[in-house]
């Protein structure tokens, strides 16, 4: 062992020490925001990795909304400042970044997440640090947190009306429930299965199929759907297939000649953005159920589309349902902050309930005590130009069932965040607030 060597290793050790110090330094960067006159808004959407394909758009929408609000003079006399981070489609990183946004950047609220697992990952962080998350995507329900506002659809705001439509208008009697193997399709299909059975559909008329994420070879699954559909009863596919796998799925449908007039597919995860990657002519007439379509014909929506296309400098950019959810969520937050007169999360959370803002489908959406919003349900048929032709719309707004009455475990649960109940999973049978907190 030479002296030089020792010196060197000490240098190396120095580097190690430096790293440790830097870790501490990053953590302890003082929050500059305080007192500078801006209100920080966190944007927690993946900009790289597998989910970037869907989430980047939402980040852009938020930037646009914040810019617009600032043009209107900001909020409470202060300018809004967007803090964008990239959780890189990595679930533990979501939790880390959420913590960073709240405890280092001191944001007033966070708009973010897409997948259920990312929401589950950040949920404890928001509850611990008492901040607000706006979650804009349709999801499986079975959750209601004090600190999360769910602006996407619960299963009864999307799946059940879609199935009703098919049963009534297409006289469907046989059902294929096809989904990607994760919690949203699993839960949605469980709910649908129970729902269909309650409507008298027999076991042998339901086929359930799960595929892995990013499944790209659909040949025999499509063939087996075709076979299932040839039993003489009208058959439909209810698809909870996740984003990435849809393009190859639809391409295979088109190639194997399954037309919507024979076996219609109704999808809950396929919107304008997903269709932008496909030649939709072979898909004519397949369906999707959402709470918003770009083709909704009203002035608000037209103005929004024009703004969005101008903001992205792309006259062909499409809009979709989760974007609308952010529009609603952001408007609600602004309103609640104005109502509360502060951005203090505890007060804003209380002020949120009951806030109603116009949605883009024509009408008002209101924040309910279960932290979900009321929504209209629209069914659209895919057209040759990648847009949806709206063929059905629920007459009124639908209130979310965050706890599905079709699932055994959640049948007796309700959520109500108003005091005195203030509980996300109140069991009406036992009369107790089950689980966490109390």
């Amino acid at each position: 062992m030479t002296i030089a060597k020792n010196w060197l290793t000490r240098r190396a050790m120095g580097a190690l020490g430096l790293a440790a110090m830097a870790a501490a330094a990053i953590g302890s960067t003082p929050a500059q925001a305080q007192g500078t006159g801006t209100i920080k808004v966190g944007i927690l959407h993946s900009l790289s990795g597998t989910m970037a394909i869907s989430e980047t758009t939402l980040k852009d929408v938020m930037l646009m909304l914040i810019e617009e609000q600032n043009k209107k003079g900001g909020l409470l006399g202060k300018k809004l400042e967007a803090v964008v981070v990239d959780p890189a489609s990595n679930w533990p990183l979501f939790a880390e970044k959420a913590r960073e946004l709240i405890s280092v950047q001191k944001v007033a609220a966070v708009f973010g997440c897409w997948t259920s697992v990312s929401r589950k990952s950040v949920l404890p962080v928001f509850e611990e640090l008492n901040n607000i998350l706006f979650y804009p995507v349709q999801y499986e329900g079975e959750e209601s947190s004090k600190n999360v506002f769910y602006t996407g659809a619960a299963p009864n705001q999307q799946a059940i009306p879609a199935v009703d439509y098919l049963a009534e208008n297409e006289k469907v009697q046989r059902w294929v429930l096809a989904g990607t193997d994760y919690v949203y399709p699993r839960t949605t299909n469980k709910i649908l299965e129970a729902y269909l059975k309650s409507k008298g559909v027999k076991d042998e008329d339901i086929m359930i199929n799960y595929t892995p994420f990013g499944h790209s070879d659909w040949q025999n699954i499509v063939a087996s759907i075709k076979k299932f559909g040839s039993a003489g009863k009208k058959t439909a596919v209810v698809s909870t297939i996740n984003g990435d796998a849809n393009v190859p799925f639809y391409k295979e449908l088109g190639n194997q000649g399954i037309k919507a007039t024979d076996i219609p597919v109704v999808a809950f995860s396929v919107g304008e953005e997903e269709l932008a990657g496909i030649d939709t002519k072979p898909l004519l007439g397949h369906l999707a159920a959402w709470n918003y379509f770009m083709s909704v014909d009203n002035a608000d929506n037209k103005a929004f589309i024009a703004k969005w296309q101008a903001f992205t400098k792309n006259p062909k950019r499409v809009t979709n349902d989760p974007m609308e959810a952010h529009v609603i969520g952001f408007a609600m937050w602004v309103k609640a902050v104005e109502k509360a007169g502060t951005t203090d999360p505890t007060k804003v959370i209380d002020a949120m309930i009951g806030v109603a803002v116009p949605n883009l489908s024509g009408g008002f959406s209101a924040m309910m005590p279960n932290h979900h919003i009321t929504k209209p349900v629209l069914i659209g048929e895919i057209q040759g130009n990648g847009q949806f032709n709206i063929v059905s719309q629920t007459p009124g707004l639908i209130v979310a069932n965050e706890w599905s009455p079709y699932l055994e475990g959640s049948r007796d649960l309700i959520a109500d965040w108003r005091s005195p109940m203030s509980c996300g999973n109140f069991n009406v049978k036992t009369g107790k607030c089950g689980g966490s907190a109390k």
Binding site: S48, D86, E96, Y182, T187
Partner: protein, 371 residues
Amino acid sequence: MIPLRSTILTLVLVLGGAILMAVLNLGTAESSALHVPTYAVSLAGKYLSFAMLALALDLVWGFAGILSLGHAAFFALGGYAMGMYLMRQIGPRGVYGNAVLPDFMVFLNYKELPWYWHGFDQFPFAMLMAVLVPALIALVFGWLAFRSRVTGVYLSIITQALTYALLLAFFRNDMGFGGNNGMTDFKDLLGMPLQADTTRVGLLLATAVMLCLMFLAARFVVGSRFGKVLVAVRDTESRTRFLGYRPESYKLVVFVASAVMAGIGGALYVPQVGIINPGEFSPANSIEAVIWVAVGGRGTLTGAILGAILVNLGKTYFTGALPELWLYALGALFIFVTLFLPKGVIGALDRFRHIRPVDEVPPEKISEVTG
């Protein structure tokens, strides 16, 4: 052989750093300039868990020449064992208030706990599993692979197949491990609430101590006679065999030991990040771990720890500061390191003084394929 003084320095810095953070977190007021926020404590704990994975990897790659592209699988398995324990600890505080079944089982209509979940409510049992399961898989896999002399890139590729197969398996909801969502929303560990600052600080300290113990153990192993044979196996396996050693046994022992280390790292990682899910098995994670080792300096042990901390620090910083561009930075870093710092940061510091220590890593043996 790792020099004594660098060993001491590593120990002092890891332990000292952790203790310093602990004191500054618990002992100072939040408004104080010296205060270290809990956020930083958790981050440091996460880095040190990763450092364990890197250390484990350096042991097999740096000293036995086994480039495992599936080491994160052992890390994740350890993490799952801990996750299962934490899940059971939630008890009736889950959203459905079921005392036995975790939430995800309730809404997937499980009627009772699957057999392989039994015992995980006991901390010692769970920790035993966190060590035993990775060890067992490494043993079976290693025994098959080394016995039939699968080496070089072939070995790398099948380790990747291993972690990929596990990834797919854990994604399946039917497996009973929570599918894609994995496990989350943990409440407490050994009766201590996970969200309390003291628990977090305790976990950081435990991680730091464990890392130091592992580092010492690894140092002892590579400095021993056993370690010398390992290096011989790494450099020329056939010659070592002709000398009468059984390279496969040596490799198997170190591979299993390394898997155990990774498993412990995973078990400590989970309570600090609050989630375990199949994403941890993704081959990209394993490759990233290899990169930590390469950045720090392969075959130096210290370098593995340094690399893991540096790269993750960079990732934390850049995903916040340059959210749109950080992948460029990360990608460029890997290229830069391989091209210009073949021996990593530690090696570069050495070269800075134009001196090559005798116990440095010898040049990589020429691959079997290129001839």
